[in-house]
Symmetry: C2
Subunit: 429 residues, 2 copies
């Protein structure tokens, strides 16, 4: 479905080594490799330690110095024009290397190793930047073992406190504090920008799309203009449980039948805000969930996303209106509980423009896209100008062992990252 | 909500003793009583043995002889005009005394003890019937411990074989055969009519309604004209599991959204066949059932009931049509699996008429009603003329520890049972 793209080698300037990038991805994927071809490498486990160790080693071989902060975020620094002296803030890039329990080889790992490939390419060409560059590995992006998700970047940006993150425990009762100590990455550097962690001059993150848009449109580069805002809810309907046989239709207080138009409304409301809104009912629980009993209670979740806050507000109002209609019918009670509210995060227009220009310069087919999922960059954007680059992934599938991406697409995204970073950091005279 | 009814004592003939009936119900309810006022007395347990033993003792005290068949059904016989000689087939009545795990005092127990009260009343008045009377306790009606449900009456009627029933096991691996032996009710009498079990001349069963119809209309006696036929299905929809954030609405293959109109159709189809059709989705399972994942697979059940087979056929066709519309949209595959097909069971018009006449004679407000649930009488109806009497239960609630019924309603139903049985069995000259 995705057309072959022209190789970027036709134009001037340094070029990333797509084969080296691919080889690094495959090497890192061996740590926690699953029989189905995926990766299981939960945050702050021994496998995560091994992976962090490999990335540190590669960065060291590339001439970087390492800084580890108090939440275990790794910053591998390639000095700029005036090493060791106060000067321009660093231009950062990176992502995460923890995975879902049945995760893939590319989610997160691509962003880190694309950043590494940028540093290696600069070394190959002896290019020194004016601003320093920092390659970041953010702790526990996935949230599979510890919540909150996007923990390292969240602490960095002050979305929640370091203490809150350190006290989080996994199902076995191990805290983040203990797990960090066990892998030796409880660093001394301050973790939060508010408490002295350096603020980036700019931050870029390359990532597989984790969705079907690029594959569907046949584009190679997604120029990410921002991340959708999110409003999540729990909805519970209470009717009256009763025997399916003896209870005539007009005497029922069926919580499921009352829930159906609300679940449909979640979809309809999002379609009315096309193309950048999403509305999903992902979770449904029916009580007592017995074949011949009329449901007395139904719980379901609502996940609304939108590019702008006014859109989220309209979606919220439409949902409440649909609920009122069910309430007014009087047979079933409905409870709506807001759970999460992330504001939309538009990315920095200048950086977004540089990504678009780099793609155009290299003749790479590209389109604007919004990030529907959360990423470390969404938190970093609260503290620094930020942008993201997406590349297609096979069938839009991620968080899955079959997650796949094409080497030439990964190389193309890396090349765009290189050029956008170079333009932002500047080349030393 | 239910108006007081005139006591039946105003007219002639024998009258049941409502207080004695109530006292027997309360005494039986002590065996397996739960703290919340219900009963937990699963089939063929030690508690069931104790309850069977008490009913046997009461029937013996009322002058009955006991026959136990090979599936543990109890038949307590009060001889007719020519005891011990071949003659008229027995007029049977009864129900079951096993309960749901969180069952009530009346479901089943009322039918058995109303029958006992009929025998006691005849004794009080020295009335001998022409045909013999038999009080039945059917084994394992509820099916909570062993399936199939309505096991004793099902074997009697040949719905399935004795061997099939005896080999059924509970979760602990105990078979019906072993459990029957353990409580001493593995009888010698043939269980199935096809293998020589006596066929009733007529069979009556009194039961609480287990639904809200009588309470809603303010009637005391439900003249049950038959039992609804049932068609049960499993429906499974397969779409594509995907991230809720990155996947735009128009690229989704959301199995839940595709399922919603089908679940609504189940309700709509039943309402189009008002008033005696039912359509219920009682069970829903969503995969992976995660808040921010578009459902890739949804399973749900369909329970259709109707008074006549042509109606069930229309409902089946309408469901298949609704499924075709979803299939034709092409984004989600739908699999429909029929699970159960019970034909409708109209009761015997003559016996139904006798119940209606008895209620009218006693000035009891009454209405025709259909049984939406299964009962032992529905199986017995395959072998003999059969009818049922319903009385109201509080809020229509059954299979619940709060199940409740009013003594005067229970007595009224018992009086109607007495008169219908007397008219059917005839009074010896």
């Amino acid at each position: 479905m995705t057309p072959m793209t022209p190789p970027p080698a036709a134009t001037g300037g340094p070029h990333v080594d797509g084969q080296r990038l691919w080889a690094s991805l495959m090497a890192l994927a061996e740590i926690g490799a699953t029989p189905k071809g995926g990766v299981c490498r939960l945050a702050l486990t021994e496998l995560d330690r091994q992976a962090r160790s490999l990335v540190k080693q590669w960065a060291q071989e590339a001439g970087c110095t390492l800084r580890v902060d108090a939440i275990g975020n790794l910053f591998m620094r390639r000095e700029g024009q005036m090493p060791g002296l106060p000067g321009l803030p660093a231009v950062g890039t990176g992502s995460h290397i923890d995975t879902q329990p049945t995760g893939g080889k590319f989610d997160g790992n691509y962003g880190v190793l694309a950043g590494l490939e940028v540093l290696r390419t600069l070394n190959d060409h002896g290019i020194r930047t004016r601003a320093p560059l920092e390659l970041c590995v953010w702790t526990n992006e996935e949230g599979s073992r510890f919540v909150p998700v996007m923990m390292g970047s969240g602490v960095h940006a002050g979305a929640f406190t370091l203490e809150h993150a350190l006290n989080a425990t996994d199902r076995a009762g191990t805290s983040v504090r203990e797990a960090l100590a066990a892998i030796g990455d409880a660093g001394a550097a301050p973790a939060s920008v508010a408490e002295g962690a350096p603020r980036f001059g700019a931050y870029f993150e390359a990532h597989i799309e984790q969705g079907p848009v690029l594959e569907d449109s046949g584009d190679v580069i997604g120029v990410v203009t921002g991340a959708l805002g999110q409003r999540w809810y729990d909805v519970e309907l209470t009717g009256l449980e009763a025997h399916a046989g003896p209870t005539p239709m007009d005497l029922r207080r069926d919580a499921l039948q009352a829930a159906l138009p609300l679940m449909q409304a979640v979809d309809t409301i999002a379609r009315a805000e096309a193309p950048h809104a999403r509305g999903t009912v992902g979770y449904v629980q029916v009580f007592p969930n017995s074949r011949n009993t009329i449901p007395g209670r139904v719980s379901f979740t609502v996940d609304f996303r939108h590019t702008d806050e006014a859109g989220l507000t309209r979606m919220d109002a439409a949902l409440r209106e649909a609920i009122s209609a069910v309430q007014d019918a009087g047979r079933v009670a409905v409870q709506l509980t807001p759970v999460v509210h992330f504001p939309p995060a538009p990315f920095d227009a200048t950086l977004v423009g540089r990504i678009r220009e780099a793609a155009a310069r290299r003749g790479l087919s590209h389109r604007s896209i919004v990030s529907g999922a959360g990423h470390d960059a969404v938190y970093v954007a609260r503290t620094a100008p930020t942008a993201m680059i997406f590349v297609p992934c096979k069938d839009g599938i991620s968080h899955n062992e079959v997650e796949d991406a094409r080497p030439e697409h990964l190389a193309a995204g890396c090349q765009v990252l290189l050029e956008a970073m170079l333009q932002t950091a500047g080349v030393a005279g």
